[in-house]
Subunit: 352 residues, 3 copies
Amino acid sequence: MTAIKTNSGNYFEDFKLGLVMRHATPRTVTHGDASLYMALYGPRFAVQSSTAFAKAIGYSDAPLDDMLVFHVVFGKTVPDISLNAIANLGYADCRFIKPVFPGDTLSAVSEVIGVKENSNGETGTVYVRSTGRNQHGDEVLSYVRWVMVRKRDKASPPPAPVVPELPGRVSPNMLGSAVPTVGRAKYDTALAGSRYLWDDYAVGEKIDHVDAMTLEEAEHQMAARLYQNTAKVHFNQHTEGKGRFGRRLVYGGVVISLARALSFNGLANAFHLAAINGGRHVAPCFAGDTLYAWSEVLEKSEIEGRTDIGALRTRLVAVKNQDCAAFPYKTPAGEYADGVVLDLDLWLVLPR
Amino acid sequence: MTAIKTNSGNYFEDFKLGLVMRHATPRTVTHGDASLYMALYGPRFAVQSSTAFAKAIGYSDAPLDDMLVFHVVFGKTVPDISLNAIANLGYADCRFIKPVFPGDTLSAVSEVIGVKENSNGETGTVYVRSTGRNQHGDEVLSYVRWVMVRKRDKASPPPAPVVPELPGRVSPNMLGSAVPTVGRAKYDTALAGSRYLWDDYAVGEKIDHVDAMTLEEAEHQMAARLYQNTAKVHFNQHTEGKGRFGRRLVYGGVVISLARALSFNGLANAFHLAAINGGRHVAPCFAGDTLYAWSEVLEKSEIEGRTDIGALRTRLVAVKNQDCAAFPYKTPAGEYADGVVLDLDLWLVLPR
Amino acid sequence: MTAIKTNSGNYFEDFKLGLVMRHATPRTVTHGDASLYMALYGPRFAVQSSTAFAKAIGYSDAPLDDMLVFHVVFGKTVPDISLNAIANLGYADCRFIKPVFPGDTLSAVSEVIGVKENSNGETGTVYVRSTGRNQHGDEVLSYVRWVMVRKRDKASPPPAPVVPELPGRVSPNMLGSAVPTVGRAKYDTALAGSRYLWDDYAVGEKIDHVDAMTLEEAEHQMAARLYQNTAKVHFNQHTEGKGRFGRRLVYGGVVISLARALSFNGLANAFHLAAINGGRHVAPCFAGDTLYAWSEVLEKSEIEGRTDIGALRTRLVAVKNQDCAAFPYKTPAGEYADGVVLDLDLWLVLPR
């Protein structure tokens, strides 16, 4: 008899502490991906949009959008990590370390850094650090995520619980390595779309990004396939139609990318997403939902050794089917308000 | 208190005669954009489709579709010019001056060349000349459009009215600068898809382009985002659903590009759109509408100093949910017939 | 009076035995097309996905997906061959001869190799061999297809019937010319996504590819336009809505590409589609249908002179709105089971 050759994914028992997984499939990212990224979300940050602008301020070429890099690396981890996941519980310590340019080839490796069985004996939480590298072996992205995964066999004994210590936020001095020394004199704020630079933002400031985007099935499916993300819930109406929501689920990364693109209106010079300190998909999104977004400045920080750029820590909130003039977030009881779908804690980099 | 950082667009009072606006965001156009343009509209003109064909007749590379260049330049002008526009009233003197190739970076500048307050004191007409340039500063596209814009304050005094004089049609001798001297011996009409060249068309000839395309939400949204066009009406079902049409409005440029792509069937050698003499979006289009198109030859002209190419002035009419066998256009009373959505006056360039 | 310039396609009488048609429009395929192909189907084969992986095993660059090449060549033949076709009857002897890389320009030529009028005197079967070539004139793809075409005039006399002899399957020794000598030591099975190579598969083995994809109108329209396929049934809801199915028909090639992409899960190392021995679109597909797929190994063969790669002949079956755990295929009476939409006989190439 021949071996079963179809990947059925890993179960909780398979995630031994220290296990290292080299994920398939390496992926060369190109101008074609950059164009699709633009068609799917509509970002307008000048550095990623224009080779001429990027070169003028010190890049060797226009880098790809940071979230495109995230999605491609994330997509590779799905078949090994989250095929049998019940829930994507969280992200932490996500750092964009080096710029990625058209022509670069991305690959991904994950290491199990924590495991903890749940008291029901049926599931457990797995913590992995995933690292994306370019064709030279340089780290371009690194992040921790934790997922709840089914056990294969309820009777198997629980592993010794290990929960990794994770930073509440990335240290500001670890930011900015993906940004060359910005020739400020060459940074043309008219072309970039706003005169407001790092110095112009204040802690506590809230920005309604005003614009909105309605999601379509064809769009989120094309996005997830572009990232070679194979999670079945995004693609199979035949089974999802009979499932909990009756519909295909939009990949959470699509929501992040749309919110980030919308944030241009109010944060036009925040061209680099340097870190995701933490984040949560508060509620699912479906085709037909209209997404709005708003930001709040949580913290401002200089970056050691850099006088050209500064870091802005923001909360990026996406809301569906409701505008953000009132900055919807949480109820007095501390629960997320109706309509809130995404709550991200970010470090953005802006010229000073 | 910090400044409001979200762009709320310009109002009628902001458009002072002579005002020059350098628009955000510069945009490098690539093979990725060319592929998306093909996927969205299905053009088949050989010069834009094949590097080998383009080089054989004298181009340095396959140029991008003229309308792709138009959309990218137009998209940049939206946040500054038409965010508070009530209506896009017209186009004139639109000339495609230089070819644009993958890798070129486009930027746009507009100058206010006319202003005229309406008698209601609430709105006014603004005339702008918008110019698209490549990374070398060369003009690649120039056109005039006029829009009706809201006043910020009804009480503000009207400006001295200035209405620019605009040509009824672009002079034929200004056409063709974007086309190299075409090596006619190398122009392979079998590969181009038709044996009919400039000499074969007659004034008064009408051509039913036969084919048709049904519009989808995902398609027109991806198109408009690809051009970084931020007009809210194309993207926000949450508000548009409660609006006048109950639906998102398809960007008019999508209709132009589809009609132009359909016109291949009957005008296969008209590979270059040299000018838009004038045009009007007669009625709105929505997802689910099926577009047909027909053309009429209005004028034929030689181009001074060029024996390789000639110019054909055509009316390009797009019609929805109705075929064009009967060339639907206007009623005996001079009104547009039901179903007509687009009426464009073009200069096309063909080999002789 | 001027000539009718719109292509109305060829009728049965136009297809004289030996007639050679050079099809419009040549098409340069690029990274943009590769990205769209990925967004539309989600393939994960490492060779096409990663320049670094492809180069490591001996390619000069990452080749384009074989089916993308097929679709582009096929699309060119539509206006000349199948515009008046009633049915696409079959394929045979389809060989992928040379790899195609981004930047190559594809053109297509077809020769009529068989004609046979049907007894009703209204239609006939036309057999053509279509050949795709790159810009150097090298054959990259060659296949035979036969279609049922309407006669222009029922009274025209039938031609002498000629039915070409076609191989039941491509000889294994004609396979593999598109694959360089694979440096097996450099072929990284972890990156490729599976440890199962040619030697691990057995004749009779069936593989349920498990995953599934739901079709959307915008997706299949974008796909068909990307291939410049002009068959009206894919694009015109206005007429198709009144037709036999009440809906637009999904281009059969979309179904093939989706099934092939789904087959990665179980055949991850079958990176090259070397030949289509025969195939049939068993039933039409529409937007909203969810596609599943399964494969059966029909034959294993070495390839003369190649110790690096071997050939696997498989049946690839696509099924709609039904999973493939039970390998749905034919009824005891020999008819296709409900839900089966595609039955292809393929030669795949895998490393040994």
